[in-house]
Point group: C2
Chain length 305, copies 2
């Protein structure tokens, strides 16, 4: 059954948003201790931490959503507050969807069979009469296609998108992802599965309902994976605080400026980080978002060569 609230494939919804606002993806990993004083939790309880995270997320959206096509909401930082945290995660996803943003539930789930189906149901299906929690979900491929296929099926059915972990930017990603078997790395094998599903489901703008997480910290590597998955939206974490800059991501885009979402978390949502929020923190949020959007917009000519 099609989700009656979805009007078009996620890959096309995302393309329209990237045309309108650029490829910035606001990453939200709530850190109440870095919030402006007036938005810090009222106590050390998990209820107050969760409540404060939602309130601050509203502020971030109000200040910065003008310059971002998408948000990536990190489940881990909510789950550490258990039930109130997960409820806050759900609320943050719903707020961002209501504002028309493309919502990536960064949950990195992965299991097999009916268990993967249950996870896909949680994040990509209409639940309890409401529209799906997210437009896209991140998944982990260690269990093989039995683990990925239920997510792919849910994305097809409900016009969602699945970002599979392909090549991550952390140093130890090489331990497993870079191992070479018969001339092909593990990451390349996962990329082939991602591309097969992307090609099969490609929509108006040429991208399908299967995408990939690729680290933004190595330019050559990114170009390589871009070429290996021409129909896949890429989600690139690692921009800003994690070290990648505009030149590292330039090859991820097609000539129209489509094909990749560039995610930054700390540098957009707590641009002051450990230093403490300035009084003009709303302005700082706006400035950080505008700066990143401008950096990425400036890439377009280079990408069109």
């Amino acid at each position: 059954m099609k989700d009656p609230t979805a009007r078009e494939p996620a890959a096309d919804r995302l393309a329209a948003l990237v045309f309108a606002k650029g490829p910035t993806c606001l990453g939200f990993d709530p850190r109440p201790e870095w919030a402006p004083p007036e938005l810090r939790p009222k106590s050390s309880s998990i209820e107050h931490a969760a409540e404060a995270a939602v309130a601050y997320f509203d502020e971030v959206l109000e200040a910065a959503s003008f310059a971002a096509a998408a948000v990536k909401i990190q489940a881990a930082f909510f789950e550490r507050w258990l039930a109130p945290g997960f409820a806050a995660f759900v609320r943050c996803c719903r707020r961002a969807r209501e504002l028309g943003m493309f919502v990536v539930a960064d949950v990195k789930r992965g299991d097999i069979g009916t268990t993967s189906e249950a996870y896909a149901e949680a994040y990509l299906s209409p639940v309890d009469g409401e529209s799906p929690l997210a437009d896209a979900v991140t998944v982990s491929p260690y269990l093989g296609s039995d683990g990925l296929n239920p997510f792919f099926a849910a994305a097809r059915r409900h016009d969602g998108l699945v970002f599979t972990l392909v090549k991550t930017s952390n140093p130890s990603s090489k331990e497993l992802q870079d191992l070479v078997v018969a001339g092909t790395t593990i990451a390349e094998r996962v990329a082939a599965a991602v591309e097969a599903e992307a090609e099969r489901t490609r929509a108006h703008f040429g991208y399908g309902s299967s995408g990939a997480v690729v680290g933004a910290t190595h330019r050559e590597e990114l170009a390589h994976f871009r070429a290996a998955m021409p129909h896949a939206w890429l989600l690139l974490p690692g921009y800003g605080a994690q070290g990648a800059g505009p030149q590292d991501v330039v090859d991820a885009f097609d000539r129209r400026g489509l094909g990749a979402l560039v995610a930054a978390s700390r540098s957009l949502t707590y641009p002051w980080a450990g230093a403490g929020a300035p009084d003009a923190w709303r302005a700082a949020l706006k400035t950080a978002a505008r700066k990143m959007a401008d950096e990425l917009a400036a890439l377009k000519p280079s990408a069109s060569t």
Copy 2:
């Protein structure tokens, strides 16, 4: 900081429970539609589904915990009910801990750095003044040691246990886990990391705070991984409804009958499955648990050779 509520390493707590009740692990993947009629949800709302799952879990514990050292609670089947579902997952974990069972939060999480730390905090650390939600957590190794180490560290600090996915029982597990690099499969490489941490943290009974998920459906393979990880508790799903029987798991145990938890979900918690619960469903739960415990207890002589 040590968790003041924990008294001994998880590996030793588990050993004591397995001595007392055998290696059965009750797997709970709530399926309200299979519950006895009087315990079905009052409506199709996610609140009622979640509430019914907790009520049924209480019944399962009351009927079957006499014959099981541990429970494995599957987060996916709760997350599909979003916030009420996650709250129910937390309640189920707490109920089983209160009864003194060894609780495995089957969440298969995995990310990097502070994000893995946040997940580890959720499941293995004292949160909000309460004891940790679970004794053990399942994790996925695609991101390499950057992803695993934060879980290992939390397990050491709070006397928990981490079950890393090594070799799963699903058909497509071969796509990635069985690939051979320089004479070693991917699964064997993950096993080496699991064993290194297990050896480093081994406690009184010789097992450490790092364990492995290994599918129970191939006897030779299980024997191989048992030998590769002599200090690791193994979590073996796939018993019962998924096809493995007593002879498939016999090599997982040491001469004392320690070293493995054998998990069964459907055959223990909904032994009637699609057929509909009999009137005497409590008796059916007891019988199913006793039968599995007896099957596994009968293995001891063979395992001691």
